[in-house]
Structure formats: structure tokens, C-alpha cells
Symmetry: C2
Subunit: 211 residues, 2 copies
Amino acid sequence: MPEPFDGADASTREALLLSAREAFAERGFDAASVRTITAGAGANLGAITYHFGSKRALYDAVVDGAVGPLADRLTALIAEPRPALERVAAVVRTMFEYFDAHPDTPRLLLQELANGRMLPDAALRHMGRLFAALTTLVSEGQAEGTMRPGEPRLMALTIIAHPVHANLFRSVLRDIAGVDLAEAPVRARVIANAEAFVRGGLAVWPEEGGA
Amino acid sequence: MPEPFDGADASTREALLLSAREAFAERGFDAASVRTITAGAGANLGAITYHFGSKRALYDAVVDGAVGPLADRLTALIAEPRPALERVAAVVRTMFEYFDAHPDTPRLLLQELANGRMLPDAALRHMGRLFAALTTLVSEGQAEGTMRPGEPRLMALTIIAHPVHANLFRSVLRDIAGVDLAEAPVRARVIANAEAFVRGGLAVWPEEGGA
DNA sequence: GGGCTATTCATACATACGTATGAAACAGAG
DNA sequence: CTCTGTTTCATACGTATGTATGAATAGCCC
């Protein structure tokens, strides 16, 4: 159960968002009860209804607040004037770093997917623009002659698959493979490996020449 | 809601497993109610308690039945005497094919992960032996001189990340990227891209020579 | 065909849930 | 100080859930 937040500096609304994010990521939408969330926020049982209208609306706000900043950072990074493969590696690294700072994000994202429900509209829009940026990035890399030919949409997908997967399977990795992403040196090696993997998977092979 | 199965040829126990697998994958553990599952199996409300003891035990059996066969097929494939990179590509292809035949498997797998709960022991064991086989496969590839250096455990992880990710984000891919894995030609191109990606990400680069 | 075990069935129970309601407390303006 | 709009609070309601219970039924060996 989340620790009650101090009601003095944080408004009830913010405290609810914080507590809800923790609870949803920890236990899923269904299992995270309104009572747990409000208690964790040090707020009254009715606070969610008052401030957000419903539990679902609160969830949408939480997911939006988790995915939006990540998509912002990544799209900004992709827009930088650097070689495409460097930007790809930076995307991978940034995703790992973001997930490390906010370990609840991948779980938050995947819960509704795993449950077969639709993601909140806002989250879908964030993912849509991120995906579009990645696709453009791949096209630019192909135009540069540094990325192998192939459908940019499909290749864009490969860029984010590994970071998401690794962070999602965090606990399984630790228990089964003995790879603990919480340890900084381990995480550094995982990130380095992921970068090398994605570069290798997308780059033009030397023997295949420029185009 | 699942369609009731014929109670004649299928035992109640099997019908429960089938209906539960569908319901759990469709709606998640919490949202799939005992009443929905038993109705879908054409069985009585008490059937789950009688045959499995509890809803959770039924879930464990379902997950075990979903992950076990996949791990079996993959480990058998990995044991074949072929070049490592070919076996890696075969693993990727087989995972896509399995997920195509059983689209509920990745969701089933990831639900509890996403919820931060522990996977059933049986599922963890299956994943453990699959992971061990993949790690060995990478080591063999490195010994062959066909795979780049790096930690086999981390590289093994990259092999399965993309298939799992692609199949998990199936609906998002369709809605956002216009990539529908249900269409056979699209799926073929996705698989080909995934194979190329994983090969490129794991292989030794020509300029880097043999060792 | 009688008796036994395995299974199915209808129903009851306690509990946890999300939301609604209306009163209370509060803050700020005039 | 009083009024007004906002926010908090305790509580109630209806519903859905997983499981327990004990009677009814079916299959089967001897």
C-alpha cells in the first residue's frame, strides 16, 4: 500500500495522481481499489469522484502523464540533427533511462494491453506520434545510406521492442537470468548490449555497400 | 463471452481450461469472473472449485498449458544440429507462428507480469529452461565465430524481445501503424524483418573478422 | 441391481467494490 | 463579519465477486 503523502505541499489532485500511478502500476487497474488509492493519497474516499469524475478517468490521466513526457523526450531527441544510427542508439538509451527513473511506466502501459482493453486515447496519440517520428527516422537513415533497406514502419518497431521488453520482464530477468537492472553496472551493460543489437539490426552491412 | 462448449466430447475439466484460457486472455485475471468462465464451459458455478480448488489454481493450470508447449517446441528446435544463426532465425519464426496460432499466449503471459504479481511456478520453470537453452545457443554461436562477442544472457534476451513485443502490441500496431498481423502477407513481412533484425543484431560483422 | 464414488447442481454467504449523497469545513471577496 | 463557491468528509447503496455447503445425480464395479 502506498505511503500517505503530505497533504500540505501537494494538492489533493496531485496526491491522487501520484498514489494512483503507484497503485495502478503495482496491482493493475482492477486490483487497485479506490479505497487504497485515496488512502495512499491521504484523501477522502470521495476525492476521486470529485476531482476526476470516475476511477477510469483518473486512470486515463495517470497513463497520459506517464506516456506523454516519454514521447516528448524521444520525439525531441529524434528531431536533433545527428546521424540516424546515433539517434537510434540515443532512443534506446533514453528509454532505458526513463524506465529506470519511472519503473512503473512499462507496466502501466501494458496492463490494459495485456487485458485486451483499449488504451486511453491520450496514450494512443502519444504512441502514434512517437511511432511516426521513429518511422521518419528510419527513412532518413535509409536516405543517408546508413540503414539497410526494409519497411520503415516495421524497422521502427524493432527500435523500441527491446527496451520495453527488457524493462517489462525486469522481475523475471532478475529471478531467472540473474540480471538485475536495478544495479547500475548491470544496467549499463544491458543498455550497451541493446544499443549494439539495435545498431546491428538496422545498419547497412559493410559488404552490402552504400545502397 | 466465450461460447459454451459441447459437454459431450470434452470433459468438464478440459472445457473449463479452454473457456478460462479464452476469458483470462480476453479480460485479465480479475475481470474474468468465475461465472463467465463456467458459463462459457457449459459447467456449473461450482465446477472450478471442484476441479481446481480455486480460480487462481485454474489460472496457473491455464498459464502452464500455454507456456509449456511453446517452451517445448523452442528448446527442441534449439537442440537441432544447425548453425546457430539459423537456429536463432528459426526461434524467431517459430515464436511468431506459435503466437499466430495461439494469440492469447503473450497476453496471458504478460498479465501477471504487468500486474507485478509473480508468475505461476510452472510458467517460471518453462521460461527458465527456455532462457537457458537460448543462452547456450548464443554461446555456441560465439564458439562458431558467427556471433559477435557479448554476454550470452543479455544477447539471448534480445532474441525473444521482438516476437513477444510485436505480438503483444498487436492491436496498437494495427490501429496506430496500420500493420495488421492477422493478414498473412503482412505477417510474413514482419517475420522476415524480425529475422533480419535479430541476425544483424547478433552476427559478427564481416569487417570484424572471425574472432 | 445395490452400493459407492465422482461429479454436478442450486443456492447461500460474506466481502469488497465504485459511486452517490448530503452535510460539514474551508477559503476568499465584499 | 457574512456570504458564496469550492473542497472535504462520513456514510449509505446496489452490485458483483469467489467460495462454501449440502442435496441431487450419474457412472460403475461387484
